[in-house]
Amino acid sequence: MFGDYSISDLGAILAMQGFAGLILFSVYVLMALGLAIIFGQMGVINMAHGEFMILGAYVTWMTSNAVQHTAPWLFPGYFFIAMILAFIASGALGMLVEWALIRHLYKRPLDTLLATWGLSLILQQAYRSIFGAREVGVELPEWMMGSWQATDAIQIPINGMFVMGLTILITIVVFYILFWSSWGKQVRAVVQNRVMAGAVGINTEKVDRYTFGLGCGIAGIAGSAFTMIGSTGPTAGQLYIVDTFLVVVFGGAASLFGTIASAFSISQTQSTLEFFLSGSMAKVITLLTIVAILMVRPQGLFALKVRK
């Protein structure tokens, strides 16, 4: 498959596909970060994570429409507003779900899977009833379109760089919150030993609720970013949920750094292979490689223990 290309061609292809993979990487990272918090830290299998993401995408779409109709001068910057609204909407829904559903199931992780699957069905149908079954797309402001000509052969899309920068920013914020703030210490204390954390005066219920809300809120931001690479439909979230779980598991469930590394390697492998093979085969090979690696190294890339 490499036969027809010269070395410099290959280099350019790799670079271009690499940058094309950046948006995919960013969406993976944002979705997987949320999931790594919820699944890796809290042990809840949230199958509705994709639907929280799609909620963020719909919020972005609504914001873009609203801004276009009421305040066109704001349009170049609407994306930042949309992202904040997406975070708030998904986070609030997440906290509601935690209160109504998840908090009863912390001792039964496999059952959270079934219950959140039910939730995802309900949310999908709700989106279909409210927004219609047709997929909707978001119009990008002008400064985000076009691309930056790095060399003769290499072009980098601007929205890709934007989403990339955003992802880095959010990753830093999440790391700060979880590993340096006192609230993050409480989260990790609750995860490691719920009873003891409660005994030393941490309000575990509140910590759980806000942690779940944070994870879902980041999924909402992922949905905002997602509007740049694809159109939003009621079932679009389901397409990404398995990939995202694999990203988290492959990276090592408890390690946020592993999550980012695995999101990078998976998205880059997939987008590079996509150039040489059909899209479906690229995906099959990527997923098979991950599953094969996980069979040899079940703890993932960067985690210490998942053995039961």
Binding site: M47, L110, L113, L121, I122, A126, V249, V291, R307, K308
Partner: protein, 377 residues
């Protein structure tokens, strides 16, 4: 407490009730279209029985049962398709004698892995052995390394996704998204007639009861007890000298074979097989049928498959909008409130009342007998 009888009293009642329903009431009261629908629902009951063994008893939640259902179904479909694509039937194609979708995709000869499916006995063996072998590989790779619980669920889910993408992508070899359609005869016997559907229904019910008895047998032997022990205290079983991995592999393979039988029957009943019965969504739905019926009850799994599918058909016929809301709410309700599903409700609420009723009637009649008998003496 070890019960030496094969079925205890309430299980025997459940067995008889199900037998009467499936062998007598449904065939006599439903027209052939509805009976065929019931047959389709029952194919999921096979998967459910397997899940009861491996999930309810073994504690291994597989979200990839659709893979085995699909493998069984595709094995059967390949045989039927080859029979339907005889040279005489396909002489208008540019290459006669190969399935039509291969011809559309410019294949000029039959791929090597299709060739064994010319033979009926090999097909029957393949339906049982291919999924079992597949499950063996997955199970050995995972359980020997002590991967379990959530991780196993996610990886089996990924495998279901991979297989679906592969089937859809390799259109020339698998029929793609449409699946393998236009199936006509089984070993020369036309499966599309009403009469054939009627007979296939009974074949399926007999197979189903065979699987129920097999599962009950596994459950009652020492093997079943070790599975339960493993689910509750895996390390203690390991320290007692049992090879935990091998027992898990066995349970997983058994569940795969049950699912494959269901898949093969599905192909026969419905007349086609497509990737939409392989992927993540159908796999999770199969788990849900089992959860609704009761993950600890073999009969519960059959009832769950029947009732949820019946509700799905009738609700989605009349209220397509509401159906997904209802289904979602059902999952949540089952998980939150009734962890043991319908069979749990039956065992906790209905059974004690019946027992009490019977007991009070018995004691009343006993009292009456004494009262009646006293003067005569």
């Amino acid at each position: 407490m070890i019960n030496s009888r094969f079925f205890n009293r309430s299980e025997l009642l459940g067995f008889l009730a199900l037998a009467v329903l499936l062998f007598l009431i449904l065939p006599l009261s439903l027209d052939i279209f509805r009976l065929n629908l019931v047959a389709k629902y029952l194919t999921y009951a096979f998967v459910g029985i397997g899940l009861v063994l491996c999930w309810g008893y073994g504690g291994i939640l597989s979200l990839g049962q659709g893979v085995f259902f699909g493998l069984g179904g595709y094995c059967m479909a390949m045989y039927l398709k080859l029979e339907a694509s005889s040279v005489a039937n396909t002489k208008i194609q540019s290459t006669p004698g190969i399935p039509d979708f291969m011809d559309w995709n410019q294949l000029t000869s039959l791929p090597f892995f299709w060739k064994p499916f010319h033979s009926f006995p090999i097909t029957l063996l393949a339906i049982l052995l291919v999924p079992a072998f597949f499950a063996l590989i997955i199970g050995a790779a995972m359980f020997k390394r002590r991967v379990g619980g959530v991780y196993f669920a996610i990886i089996t889910q990924a495998i279901a996704a991979i297989l679906t993408i592969l089937i859809v992508g390799q259109q020339g070899y698998t029929g793609g998204i449409n699946g393998i359609t236009d199936l006509r005869t089984l070993h020369g016997w036309d499966i599309r007639t009403d009469h054939a559907k009627f007979i296939l229904y009974f074949v399926e019910v007999v197979l189903l009861f065979g699987c129920i008895v097999a599962a009950q047998f596994i459950r009652l032997t020492k093997l079943g007890r070790i599975l339960v022990a493993m689910r509750e205290q895996e390390d203690r079983v390991r320290f007692s000298g049992y090879s935990v991995a091998n027992f898990k592999i066995f349970a997983f393979c058994a569940a795969a074979v049950f699912a494959a039988i269901g898949g093969a029957m599905f192909t026969l009943e419905v007349g086609f097989m497509s990737p939409s019965f392989v992927g993540i969504v159908p796999s999770i739905e199969m788990v849900i049928y089992t959860a609704v019926g009761g993950r600890m009850s073999i009969f519960g799994a059959v009832w769950g498959a029947l009732l949820v599918n019946f509700a799905k058909t009738s609700l989605s016929e009349s209220f397509p909008q509401l159906w997904l809301f209802g289904l979602g709410a059902l999952f949540i309700a089952v998980v939150l409130a009734f962890a043991n599903g319908l069979s749990g409700i039956w065992a906790d609420h209905v059974q004690p009342r019946i027992d009490r009723l019977l007991a009070s009637r018995k004691s009343k009649s006993a009292a009456g007998m004494i009262a009646d008998g006293a003067p005569a003496e």
